[in-house]
């Protein structure tokens, strides 16, 4: 499975979003992506990519697009 598929899969399992919905997902605008949902998203991202996110990255991870940029710092290419 490619990284993009894996990334989309996390948004689908956590928020129940289709690929098209996931690509426009934004913190607080997407249903269930509030602070409780964010904790769930971050734990699933860490598990899916076997990484340990830094605190600043967890705070900055506020949209699908921003998340891709952040993950690239961990060597995850899309």
């Amino acid at each position: 499975m490619g990284n993009l598929e894996k990334y989309l899969g996390v948004f689908e399992s956590v928020f129940g979003l289709s690929a098209a919905e996931a690509e426009t997902a934004v913190f607080k605008s997407t249903r269930q992506w509030d602070s409780v949902g964010h904790v769930n998203l971050m734990t699933n991202i860490e598990e899916a990519f076997d990484i340990s996110l830094e605190p600043d990255d967890i705070l900055d991870f506020r949209s699908f697009a921003m998340g891709k940029e952040i993950l690239s710092k961990y060597g995850i290419a899309f």
């Binding site: 509030d34 602070s35 409780v36 964010h38 860490e46 830094e54 605190p55 600043d56």
Partner: protein, 361 residues
């Protein structure tokens, strides 16, 4: 670097009191102010790990600590006139003033020669309080110290946040010149995050005023300014970082392998957060008990409550290597490592009845 090692002391026993009344988060309704409309109660329970909580609208923290202390003193066979100090750690004192520790001194029937003081800390409070109590006892002047920790009834009527439960604990500390081990601590604080968990009004900075009770939206919930406001993401990123780092720093400073410890007792913040801390430290989950499902987040009571409700049978009176780590409001954190045979009392369930309420003006 805030490291501390305390010798010639021991924790003799631990007890915990909770309200008898149990509420279930499954009985809440989406969008009712307690949980966001984004979640069903079932989804909230799955995400946070908190299904049930012990709550009371009348029992104060000191009432629960009092019940725990009475049980502990009886179980240990301590004479009350031998207790030299009582320290009360809470963010929900009986009154803005006087100190609740003074009230507990009298209510428990302790000597008027008792050292009594309050400490205002939340989730890191048991670890900090333990350092105070052990430090007081290590010189041998104060030989028996009671540490009372917890949080219960809030500052204003409200539907309590579904993450939080009520509990009060008592930890008995005594001077033990024959003790061979030590209690090793690491502490930290970061006041730049003072507003990550805050009750905005009711202190000196923002005094209570009629507008304090005006409802507003905060993080998807309706609340007023006398309620706890928590920035979930800030607290999450802090918790998953501060706790593992503190455990690692402590082990590195004092030169021990933390994996060799029998139990890791983390403050019970949120199941997902705690799972991540376990993962970051590569701990065996069997060594990391959890009580969130039945008690929720009980602030400074959470670590001793774990010993009473989750591992009592395994550790009661047996030498056990324990690491305790508290982290939260402040921001503040602390970790302690020790090996001790502690007498653990049975959980005290406190009835909501007049005889259990403390001093009322």
């Amino acid at each position: 670097m805030a490291f501390l090692s305390i010798k010639n002391v021991r924790i003799a026993g631990i007890a915990a009191g909770v309200p008898e009344n149990i509420v279930s988060n499954l009985d809440l309704k989406s969008g009712d102010g307690a949980i966001s409309e984004n979640y069903s109660p079932e989804a909230f329970v799955e995400l946070t790990g908190v299904k049930e909580r012990r709550v009371s609208e009348k029992l104060c923290t000191s009432d629960l600590c009092f019940a725990a202390a009475e049980r502990l003193i009886a179980d240990l066979g301590w004479a009350k006139n031998e207790i030299d100090a009582v320290i009360f750690v809470s963010q929900t004192a009986d009154y803005a003033l006087p100190a609740t520790a003074c009230i507990l001194q009298d209510r428990l029937g302790l000597s008027k020669e008792t050292y009594a003081a309050d400490v205002t800390l939340g989730c890191s409070g048991w670890v900090y309080g333990l350092s105070y109590a052990l430090s007081l006892a290590q010189g041998g002047y104060l030989k028996k110290v009671l540490l009372c920790c917890g949080d219960a009834k809030r500052r204003a009527p409200q539907q309590m946040d579904p993450l939080f439960g009520c509990a009060g604990t008592a930890t008995a500390i005594e001077y033990a010149p024959e003790a061979t081990g030590s209690y090793d601590f690491h502490f930290g604080a970061d006041g730049s995050g003072f507003d990550a968990i805050i009750i905005p009004d009711s202190g000196s900075r923002n005094q209570v005023k009629p507008e304090s009770f005006a409802m507003h939206e905060f993080e998807g919930k309706q609340m007023h300014s006398m309620q706890t406001h928590m920035k979930g993401m800030d607290v999450f990123s802090f918790g998953i970082t501060a706790a593992p780092k503190s455990v690692k720093k402590l082990a590195e400073h004092f030169g021990f392998d933390y994996q060799s410890y029998d139990y890791f007792l983390f403050h019970q913040a949120n199941m997902k957060m705690n799972n991540m801390i376990v993962k970051k430290l590569k701990l065996d989950p069997a060594k990391v008990p959890s009580e969130m499902y039945n008690f929720g987040n009980t602030s400074s009571a959470s670590i001793p409550l774990l010993m009473v409700t989750q591992i009592r049978d395994q550790i009661n009176g047996r030498k056990t290597k324990i690491i305790g780590c508290g982290f939260g409001v402040g921001l503040s954190w602390g970790t302690v490592a020790f090996e001790e045979a502690i007498q653990i009392s049975e959980l005290v369930e406190v009835k909501d009845s007049e005889e259990n309420y403390g001093y009322k003006l």
